[in-house]
């Protein structure tokens, strides 16, 4: 019941918001939807609800982590939206808020679904829900961005569907079709070759949504054109959902014992993503594209962790959370700077400071949570004896830090506009990022016991363990 509610509540809120003509009502709907969802998620964590719809919807450790992450991030972004909508009015305003809520519904569906087709539908829905948000300015550039985004992700999603069918073929009647539990339980009875083919298509399809190089090409354009909060939502929540999809596929593949076949693929995608991200971060001038490539980098880290297994998968799940919050923080802070046009500490001191915090958080500096997760992934690389992988990753991380530091510090200390009137930043616009920064900081020094257990279970499902 709760599970259905988790999907239904935001959807209804979306409908409600669309019904209203006045902006205040819409924001009210947005906030209520977000808060209700958050409450439901908390309740779901407390009372582990059983599966619904004949096992098609269920809440396991991995799913609940993604769900919580998305819900928290969305709540923050909703609060930010209030301030944002005061600053500028996106065209098609009615659609704007509704699309946000629809996205939340779809994301919840992804997190809850234990049936691959359902998972796939949810992911498709997230894609579509975001498209109008990117297109909010209705100008040439945003049009180009959304066109590329749509074509590439539609192709990807189609390939993913083909992968799902392959999976069904591989299952060939072993247990309930395409239901995660049965796929895992019957793992040994799955047909290996079909399974491998299925994994390849799923990896390409969902990997494109994740933004693994060389399938990342839509990312800089979409993130570069979308408003800050949409960028944060995509880089934080959408990628997490895509990661969950890839993780589910890995879960099945590992259960079927084709790990040796798939791990190299994940590692290759991971390293390639790091490399491409580094190459394009170096000398990058556009702040949002910078963040987009940084997102590519972190997706690469997730893939690495997944491919390394052991402590790596633990690190990957943990890094998924951290990345979501950090990306939200960065995109919102950067959005604030760009909202006021000129950058510089004088006019947006808080946001500039937040951007600086974000710089250290996103590069995995202690004491931020990203440090712990990257540390775990790195440790897994060493433990697996993949010294050259660890070395390459470290070198690329160093290069990436240089690139990010050069650009972001350049923005912060950058030439401040002549007339530096101290524009007080609206609390709506800074409260959210600050909360995210604190969250990442907290994750670096203290993990709630419930989260620790969930992480352990999730890592276990992905053939790993807590370090």
């Amino acid at each position: 019941m709760i599970l259905l509610g988790l999907v239904a509540v935001p959807a209804l809120a979306a409908a409600g918001a669309y019904a209203h003509r006045e902006a205040p009502w819409r924001t009210a709907w947005l906030i209520t939807g977000a808060l209700l969802h958050l409450g439901l998620v908390a309740f779901a964590w407390a009372s582990r609800p059983g599966p619904a719809l004949g096992g098609w919807l269920a809440l396991d450790a991995l799913g609940s982590i993604v769900l919580a992450t998305v819900s928290v991030l969305f709540a923050v972004i909703a609060s930010y939206t209030v301030g944002y909508l005061r600053w500028e009015q996106p065209r098609g305003g009615r659609a704007f808020v509704s699309c946000l809520l629809v996205f939340l519904a779809a994301a919840s569906l992804v997190a809850l679904s234990h049936h691959f087709v359902l998972l796939w539908i949810g992911l498709e829905a997230t894609t579509l829900a975001v498209a109008p948000l990117i297109f909010h300015r209705h100008d040439r550039r945003s049009l180009e961005a959304v066109w590329k985004y749509l074509v590439i992700s539609s192709v990807a999603i189609a390939l993913a569907l083909l992968g799902v069918f392959f999976l069904a073929t591989a299952q060939a009647g072993a247990g309930r079709p395409l239901v995660l539990e049965d796929l895992v339980a019957q793992g040994t009875r799955l047909h290996p070759d079909w399974l491998k083919a299925a994994f390849i298509f799923l990896l390409v399809g969902f990997g494109t949504k994740m933004g693994l190089a060389p399938l990342h090409t839509w990312k800089p354009d979409a993130y570069g054109e979308a408003p800050g909060l949409v960028g944060g939502l995509m880089a934080g929540a959408l990628t997490s959902c895509a990661f969950l999809a890839v993780a589910r596929s890995t879960q099945v593949a590992l259960a079927a014992g084709v790990g040796p076949f798939i791990r190299p693929l994940l590692l290759a995608f991971g390293l390639l993503s790091l490399g491409v991200a580094a190459a394009f971060l170096v000398g990058q001038t556009d702040l949002r594209r910078l963040l987009a490539y940084s997102s590519v980098e972190h997706m690469g880290l997730l893939a690495l962790g997944l491919g390394l297994g052991a402590a790596g998968s633990y690190g990957a799940v943990l890094h998924m959370i951290n990345n979501a919050f950090v990306k939200g923080l960065l995109f919102l802070a950067a959005g604030n700077l760009l909202l006021r046009g000129a950058a510089g500490t004088h006019r947006t001191p808080v946001s500039a400071g937040l951007l600086l915090v974000g710089l250290f958080a996103v590069t995995g500096s202690p004491p931020f949570g990203t440090f712990l997760s990257e540390f775990a992934i790195l440790g897994a690389a060493f433990q697996g004896g993949h010294y050259w992988i660890a070395g390459t990753a470290l070198a690329l991380l160093a290069l990436i830090f240089v690139a990010l530091a050069v650009r972001i510090l350049g923005v912060i200390h950058g030439p401040s506009p002549g007339a530096a009137e101290a524009a007080r930043e609206s609390p709506w616009l800074v409260a959210g990022p600050i909360a995210l920064a604190l969250a990442v900081l907290l994750l670096g020094v203290y993990l709630p016991s419930a989260l620790v257990d969930a992480l352990g279970a999730a890592a276990g499902a992905l053939g790993g363990r807590a370090p």
């Binding site: 087709v117 040439r140 049009l143 569907l161 069918f165 299952q171 395409l178 070759d193 079909w194 354009d221």
Partner: protein, 213 residues
């Protein structure tokens, strides 16, 4: 019945080649409409017992893939006053040759995979071939509308493969496919319309402002 199935699949592959070979936009759309129709007929040929949802699937498919979408595309042409040529990035002859190669690859790959028994054996290579050719069209045709057609072919390929599962995985396959095709093309159509407004042309190669410098 097996003969009929194979015949239909052969026709599907041929429609792909029509899209590859033709110079005219309208022909492309007709070809893809025909392909949609064939796909609608296929379930009946595959599952002659003819349960209700087989019929439903057939009718729904024909309606969407053979009627609505082609209409929609023609409407887009008229609205946007698109010039009628395809304007390929790769020559027609070469396209056809590559298409043949793609089909060969498809058969090679599916040769390595354990295929479902009987008449459905040819579904897999046909599906793969259609998918690959659809991607091929998407890549080699610069005109947005033709790319939509290519995307449709891609979807058809997926759907084709989905047909192997009509029994094991009831209904969701179709739902998935239809939803996907529907929204995908619908949204794209709208976007195409916008592109036309903004650029006075449907040449998506003009869409290359967002570059890393």
């Amino acid at each position: 019945m097996a003969r009929l199935v194979e015949l239909l699949l052969l026709l599907v592959i041929l429609t792909n080649f029509i899209v590859l070979g033709t110079t005219r936009l309208s022909t492309c759309i007709r070809a893809v409409a025909l392909q949609g129709f064939l796909l609608g007929v296929l379930p009946l040929a595959l599952y002659p017992r003819g349960e209700l949802h087989t019929w439903g699937l057939a009718l729904g498919t024909v309606a969407v893939k053979a009627v609505i979408l082609p209409r929609f595309l023609r409407w887009a042409i008229r609205e946007a006053a698109v010039r009628r040529e395809v304007e390929p990035r790769v020559g027609y002859a070469l396209s056809l040759l590559l298409g043949v190669a793609a089909v060969a690859v498809a058969f090679a790959i599916s040769g390595r995979l354990p295929l479902p028994e009987g008449a459905r054996a040819m579904l897999v290579p046909a599906a793969l071939a259609t998918v690959i050719l659809g991607l091929f069209v998407l890549i080699t045709r610069s005109k947005a509308l033709v790319q939509v057609v290519g995307y449709l072919m891609l979807e058809n390929g997926v759907y084709l493969f989905g047909l192997t599962h009509v029994e094991e995985v009831p209904f969701l396959v179709e739902a998935g496919v239809l939803l996907d095709v529907f929204v995908g093309v619908f949204i794209m159509g709208i976007v195409v319309f916008h592109i036309n407004r903004e650029f006075d042309s449907l040449d998506s190669t003009r869409l290359s402002e967002l570059v890393d410098r």
